[in-house]
Symmetry: C2
Subunit: 282 residues, 2 copies
C-alpha cells in the first residue's frame, strides 16, 4: 500500500478485480465514495471460484488479472475486490504491476477495530480466505482477536437468488451459532462481525437478524471504498466531473458474459451495462 497521489492523472482509471461479480459490491461502494472516477472492473469468471483453490493457483490467476487491468485498461490504482485474492495473492499482485494495490482485508480489519470495544471480532469468509488466516493476522495487527469461519454455502445461496429465503436464514443461523460457540469456547465476547466475502453484503440483513444483540455487522466493501478514497485523496472528489458527468464503468469477464450481466446488477445495484469477454489464456 503506497500513496499514489502525485503520480495519478487527472481522471484516473481505478481497476477493480474479483474472481467473479461479487466484487461489484465493492465497486458499488467505490461509486458511492468517488462517483466521478473512471472504473474498469474485471471478473475472472472463467476460473471462479477462487475460494476453493490453492494459494499458488490463486496468485497466478490474480496476477494475470491485475496485469490486464493495468496494461490493457490503463488502471493507475487497483482495488482487489476479492477477499480470497486479497488474502492469498497481494504480494503476487504487487510484484506483477507497478501501481498501488489495495485489498479488502486490511480495511475490513481496520473498520472492525474502529467499532469493537471488547476487541473480540468474528469473521465469516470463504474456505480459502479462512484457511489463509489473513483476517486473523490483520485483526492482530489492529490489536483485535479474530475468530474466523468458512461459510461455503453462502455464495451459492446468493447466486441462487435465495437472499430473503428461509433456507438462507437457517444456514446463516447455523453458521453464526457455530461461530459464537467457538468464540465463547475461546473465552471471547465478540461485539463485531466482519463480512469477509464480497457476496455477503447481500446477506447483511440476514446476518444482522441472526447475531446476538450488541454484535455489529461490518461490511468490508464499504470499509475498502473509504480506504481507497483516502489513499487517492478523492473523498467527495470532483475528479472526472469535467468529463462525461457520469461515472464511466467498463466491465470485463473471462467467461459467462450473459450471467455476469444478469447477476451483476444484484451486486452493483443497477445494470452493469455491456460486459466485454476477455481471454487471459487460462
Amino acid at each position: 500500500m503506497t500513496s499514489a497521489g502525485p503520480h495519478l492523472s487527472n481522471s484516473p482509471v481505478i481497476g477493480v478485480f474479483d474472481s467473479g461479480f461479487g466484487g461489484l459490491t465493492v465497486l458499488r461502494a467505490l461509486l458511492a465514495q468517488m462517483p466521478y472516477a473512471q472504473y474498469a472492473f474485471l471478473g475472472d469468471t472463467a476460473r471462479l471460484p477462487y475460494g476453493s483453490k490453492s494459494q499458488r493457483t490463486i496468485a497466478r490467476y490474480a496476477a494475470e488479472s491485475a496485469q490486464f487491468l493495468v496494461h490493457e485498461q490503463k488502471a493507475e490504482f487497483l482495488v482487489i475486490a476479492c477477499n480470497t485474492a486479497s488474502a492469498l495473492a497481494m504480494e503476487a499482485i504487487q510484484a506483477a504491476v507497478p501501481v498501488p494495490v489495495l485489498g479488502v482485508i486490511e480495511p475490513g480489519a481496520a473498520a472492525a477495530a474502529a467499532h469493537s470495544t471488547t476487541r473480540n471480532v468474528l469473521v465469516v469468509a470463504t474456505e480459502a480466505t479462512v484457511k489463509s488466516h489473513a483476517y486473523a493476522a490483520a485483526c492482530r495487527r489492529q490489536g483485535l482477536r479474530g475468530v474466523e469461519k468458512a461459510c461455503p454455502l453462502l455464495v451459492p445461496l446468493v447466486e441462487e437468488g435465495w437472499v430473503d429465503h428461509p433456507v438462507t436464514e437457517q444456514v446463516v443461523g447455523i453458521y453464526v451459532e457455530e461461530l459464537m460457540a467457538e468464540a465463547r469456547a475461546a473465552g471471547q465476547t465478540p461485539d463485531t462481525l466482519v463480512l469477509g466475502c464480497t457476496h455477503y453484503p447481500l446477506l447483511r440483513k440476514v446476518f444482522e437478524s441472526k447475531v446476538p444483540a450488541g454484535v455489529q455487522v461490518i461490511d468490508s466493501a464499504e470499509a475498502t471504498a473509504a480506504a481507497a478514497a483516502g489513499m487517492l485523496g478523492l473523498e467527495g472528489s470532483r475528479v472526472g466531473r469535467d468529463g462525461a458527468g457520469e461515472p464511466r464503468i467498463r466491465c470485463f469477464a473471462t467467461d459467462s458474459v450473459e450471467k455476469f450481466e444478469r447477476l451483476g446488477s444484484r451486486f452493483l445495484g443497477h445494470s452493469v451495462g455491456e460486459v466485454t469477454l476477455v481471454d487471459l489464456g487460462g
Copy 2:
C-alpha cells in the same frame, strides 16, 4: 462412441475424467463392474466447477484433460465422469483424442428409458448441464420426455458434508417440488428421476425420501459403468487379474491435492490414495 474391442491391450488403462472429485462416484461404479482394470482418474480441480462456465471454456478444459489421460497416462478408453463435460464437450473431446469416449448422459437416459413406463422423466443437474438441454435431447432419442432442473445448491451442500442434514432435506424438497410442479404444468406424469450430476449419488436417499411414491431415482454413475463394461466387453471380467490382483488406481488433480484426498474418499467409498498434482497450463 466406437466399439473398442480389438484395439485394447490385455490390461487396458481406463481414463476417468471429471472437473472435480464428484466423478469418483463413477469410478466407484466402474470398480464394482470391472474390479481388476487399471484406472487413471483426473480431477481438473484448479478450474472447477465447470457447471457455471460457458460451452467454449468447458470444451477447451475437457479436451486438455482428455489429452493428459490419453497421452500422459496411456488411457485406451475414456469415461467422462462429469455431466457438464458430457453435455457440452463430447465432440471436442472425441476430436482431441484417438480413443473411444463414453459420457454419462446417454447411459443415464438409457437407464431412465429402461425404467419408465409413463415415458416422462425428471432430470436434476448443474446449471450448465441443464442449459445445454443435453438430457432432454438424450431422453427424446430414447422416446422419453424429460423435464430438467438446475440445482446449484446441491454440490456445495455435499461438499460441506451436509449429506444427512435438515437443510439439505429442505433444499432437495424445494427442488423436487418445483420440478414436479413444472412437469405437472406440462401435463406429464413422471415416474423416474435421473441424478444428472456426479455429486448427487451421495444424496440419493434424500431424493428417494422427497420424490412422490412411484417415482424411481436413477443414478447415472451406475448406468455409465454398466455401459462402459458393455463397450469394453468386460462385464464381470478378469482383465488385469493376472497382474497386481488389486485394482490399480492413480489419481491426478490440477489443484488442491489435499482437499481431493480428504473429500475424495466420501465419493469413492474408500481412500483415494496419494493424489498427484499436474499442471495443464490453465
